[in-house]
């Protein structure tokens, strides 16, 4: 053993290099925090409806079908980037988009949607940001895939791209996914 112990530093160093090497591979994702909500029920909420003031949007209403919960805001640069893709998703009719308008003045949000188009089935208003915290959001846009039982299946951070849609979201939907009730609007 006494001669072998001099190899220990080299062995420890080799292990360290392995860890650092893996670290480099993973470094582009180092700021992406995996969501602890995956596999858990979506936070229950009942919030004002942006389009139909006086009405409310609640999780109870959304039960029974798949939906994409998309957190956005007019101040968010990346949200504009994903706007065309969201409109495309709406066109396809595969799954409805439920929007959470994060920290916006409702009038700003309405004029934004008028200008850019409205890809959402319904939009909930979260003016003070407390709902977004419930979902563990830390930057817009963030999108959650929720199943008919109300369980969060997947979280996507950043603007949704065609690739993300094809690779991450579509495969997670059941094959015979029917357009959700009331998706055309």
């Amino acid at each position: 053993m006494s001669r072998l112990r001099f190899i220990i530093p080299l062995v420890v160093f080799a292990l360290l290099v392995a860890v650092l090497g893996i670290g480099i591979r993973q470094s582009p994702d180092k700021n992406i925090i995996p969501s602890p909500l995956i596999g858990k029920p979506a936070p229950a909420f009942s919030l004002p409806n942006l389009i139909e003031p006086g009405q409310r949007v609640s999780t109870a209403q959304l039960r029974g079908h798949w939906y994409l919960f998309n957190i956005w805001g007019t101040w968010c640069v990346e949200c504009r980037v994903e706007q065309p893709m969201l409109l495309k998703i709406k066109q396809s009719g595969v799954i409805p988009l439920v929007g959470l308008d994060w920290r916006d003045d409702p009038n700003d949000a309405l004029s934004y949607l008028k200008q850019e188009g409205d890809p959402y089935e319904t939009i909930a208003v979260d003016q003070d940001g407390s709902e977004a915290i419930m979902w563990g959001a830390y930057g817009a846009p963030e999108t959650f895939l929720v199943n008919p039982q109300g369980i969060v299946v997947y979280k996507y951070i950043g603007p949704i791209t065609e690739e993300a849609w094809q690779r991450e979201i579509l495969p997670r939907l059941p094959l015979a996914s029917t357009p959700a009730a009331g998706s055309s609007s």
């Binding site: 080799a14 360290l16 860890v19 670290g23 480099i24 993973q26 180092k30």
Partner: protein
């Protein structure tokens, strides 16, 4: 023209470094005297080329040459001249040039310093330094060339991050890097010893001054960085256990252990392979630190803009450099044996624990720093490690160290009989404990359990360090510089411990909302807010507040916190105003306009905080004083005759 010259000089430096490495290592191996003689011209040439290259880059900055991309990205014509020069090391590529330049400086110094040592050994030392230079030059030219041109040149630059436009910017990186890079010399000495297959007490004596010098610079560099963070960024915070801070702290811990281990090797010829390993690891940690900061693997606001390819290159460099050093160690170290003995209470024993505790502390910081990486690599989830981890675990190692110090400096070599010192030590311990408690509970109320321990330990260290010099003065014996240096350094440490404990225990801080004319109270301090007015600077504008501070009615200062908006980047930065009053620092920072003339303000009183950095400087001074001791200048090359005849009195049991 000038940037081309700079790049060309860099390429020449690369070639010269290669020659330096080749002649330095292969020359002694093949016993070619002419080759060994070529090392000095090679290293001199490399230094000249690197200096030229650096000079060209500086000139480009001074001349606002925005055809050079690095200048355009980091400077601006409105930037004051001082910051245009300092902007050179403001980002990755330029900071590498600084690194390489300092390495060349140390190499030249080492060439001069080893000129009277055995030729083969000295060549190897410079040769190893050449390998390191070569690696960094290659990396710079291949991935981070600061002389790249922009076509067409930008009309003006992006300017320097406003936070970096500060005198601290000028001082912190060069001094810190001098320390970082200086550890390469100890590494080179270790490398030379391993290549030679021999390590003796002379080797330890030769290595000590270089290590201590690098350590002193590192101490100052870290302290400067902490001080700068304090008054620029941290709302009064000065240490965050940030990965980049840790990257500079770990080599410091290792270097401290190395200094003490070298003492044992020099004195008794013990701990040879251990000292060798420490010398390799200290610089290795410098390199790993460089990697961590630039590769982007860690979340840190301090890290350079990174890319995976940069990280991969440095990692390869690390593997080659450190891997071959450790492989060499595994091969050669078993040969190093010593036959000397020492008792449980001897100084060697205390220094052994000193090393164990320092290395444990270093390993602890290391574990916390790379834990997020390990957790990610093993898919254990995303982890975050902050001060609540580092503080208690670090103290676990450091408290015993501080306690042992006061006794250890009085233990004699080999036979550990404290003799008549024991009584005095007991008295100083009691005095320190009493003082510690008195300070904490008498002057202030509150303070945590560790506070009297911390202050007591600090006082004990100071008192204990003074025993020997006072005793010598009384008996009219001279105090060698090495002893004086050690005393000063330890006293500095004591001051450091007292200051940090005081800051942690007695800081008072509060965020308040004040209207013009209202006051807020913080302990005995009263802060009266006098409103804000517009301000203007060379490349910024903003608002400045006026706050009148009094203590128990006596005037303290009129403070002017500012909020600046820099024109180019359009970012708003907050400049707290910090003044010293008696031994405390008072900090006022301007927050936000709350409307109706009310503003939010941060008020903070931190006792003894400035002494933290003063203490670090004192430690460094002690180190430099110790180096100047005469015995390090006696680097007589042993003649073949004297090597064959073992010295009469000591070291009969030396092998190897």
């Amino acid at each position: 023209m000038i940037p081309e010259l700079g790049q060309f000089a860099l390429i020449l430096a690369l070639l010269l470094a290669a020659l330096q490495a080749f002649f330095g290592i292969v020359g002694p191996a093949l016993k070619r005297d002419r080759w060994m003689a070529a090392v000095t011209p090679a290293v001199t040439g490399q230094f000249v080329m690197v200096a030229t290259s650096m000079g060209c880059l500086v000139t480009s900055f001074i001349n606002n040459d925005f055809s050079v991309r690095y200048v355009a990205e980091n400077s601006n014509s409105a930037l004051p001249l001082f910051y245009r020069v300092a902007a050179l090391w403001g980002a990755h590529s330029g900071s590498l040039i600084l690194w390489i330049f300092l390495l060349a400086c140390w190499s030249i110094a080492a060439a001069v310093g080893t000129s009277r040592l055995p030729r083969a050994f000295a060549s190897r030392v410079i040769g190893v330094l050449g390998v390191i230079s070569f690696g960094f030059l290659l990396y710079t030219l291949a991935t981070s060339n600061p002389f790249l041109r922009l076509d067409p040149p930008w009309p003006d630059g992006e300017s320097l991050n406003p936070i970096l436009q500060d005198p601290g910017l000028a001082g912190h990186p060069p001094i810190l890097y001098t320390g970082y890079v200086g550890l390469a010399v100890a590494f080179a000495f270790a490398g030379a010893a391993m290549l030679e297959g021999r390590l003796d007490r002379d080797w330890a004596r030769w290595t000590r001054p270089w290590t201590t010098a690098a350590w002193a610079f590192l101490s100052c560099g870290i302290a400067l960085g902490s001080w700068w963070a304090y008054y620029t960024l941290g709302w009064g915070g000065f240490w965050f256990w940030d990965p980049v801070e840790n990257a500079s702290f770990m080599p410091w811990l290792m270097a401290t252990a190395l200094i003490h281990s070298l003492a044992v090797t020099e004195k008794r010829g013990l701990f040879k392979s251990w000292t060798l390993l420490l010398a390799v690891l200290a610089f290795s940690l410098s390199l790993v630190g460089t990697f961590l900061v630039r590769s982007g693997v860690l979340v840190s606001v301090h890290s350079f803009a990174a890319s995976p390819s940069r990280g991969e290159f440095i990692l390869t460099f690390l593997v080659l450099m450190i891997g071959s050093a450790l492989a060499l160690y595994a091969w050669r170290a078993p040969l190093l044996k010593s036959e000397a003995g020492f008792e449980l209470t001897a100084r060697e024993s205390f220094l052994l624990f000193n090393n164990i505790l320092l290395v444990t502390a270093c390993a602890t910081v290391f574990a916390g720093t790379i834990a997020p990486l390990i957790s990610g690599a093993l898919h254990l989830g995303k982890l975050s490690v902050g001060p609540p981890y580092f503080n208690p675990t670090f103290l676990l190692s450091i408290l015993p160290l501080l306690a042992l110090l006061s006794v250890g400096i009085h233990a004699s070599w080999k036979r550990g009989n404290l003799g008549n010192r024991a009584r005095i030590l007991m008295l100083t311990l009691i005095a320190a404990a009493v003082l510690g408690c008195a300070v904490v509970f008498g002057l202030f109320t509150g303070g945590r359990v560790l506070s009297p321990i911390g202050i007591g330990l600090g006082i004990w260290i100071i008192l204990s360090s003074l025993i020997d010099p006072i005793d010598r003065l009384r008996r009219h014996i001279s105090i060698p510089r090495a002893v004086l240096g050690m005393t000063i350094a330890h006293i500095g440490l004591g001051i450091f411990v007292i200051s940090i404990t005081s800051v942690e225990a007695f800081t008072a801080e509060q965020d308040v909302a004040l209207a013009r004319g209202s006051t807020a109270q913080l302990g005995a301090y009263e802060f009266r807010f006098e409103g804000v007015s517009p301000i203007e600077g060379p490349n910024y504008s903003g608002v400045g507040g006026t706050v009148v501070v009094t203590h128990d009615g006596a005037p303290v200062a009129v403070m002017h916190p500012e909020k600046r908006k820099y024109w180019v980047q359009q970012t708003v930065t907050t400049h707290a105003d910090i003044r010293m009053y008696r031994v405390s620092n008072v900090l006022v920072a301007l927050g936000q306009d709350l409307g109706d003339g009310r503003w939010s303000l941060r008020l903070q009183v931190r006792p003894l905080v400035s002494f933290i950095w003063l203490a670090a400087f004192i430690m460094a001074t002690g180190g430099m004083l110790a180096i100047s001791d005469r015995r390090y200048r006696l680097a007589r090359a042993p003649s073949p005759a004297s090597a064959a005849v073992p010295p009469a009195v000591v070291t009969r049991g030396e092998a190897g």
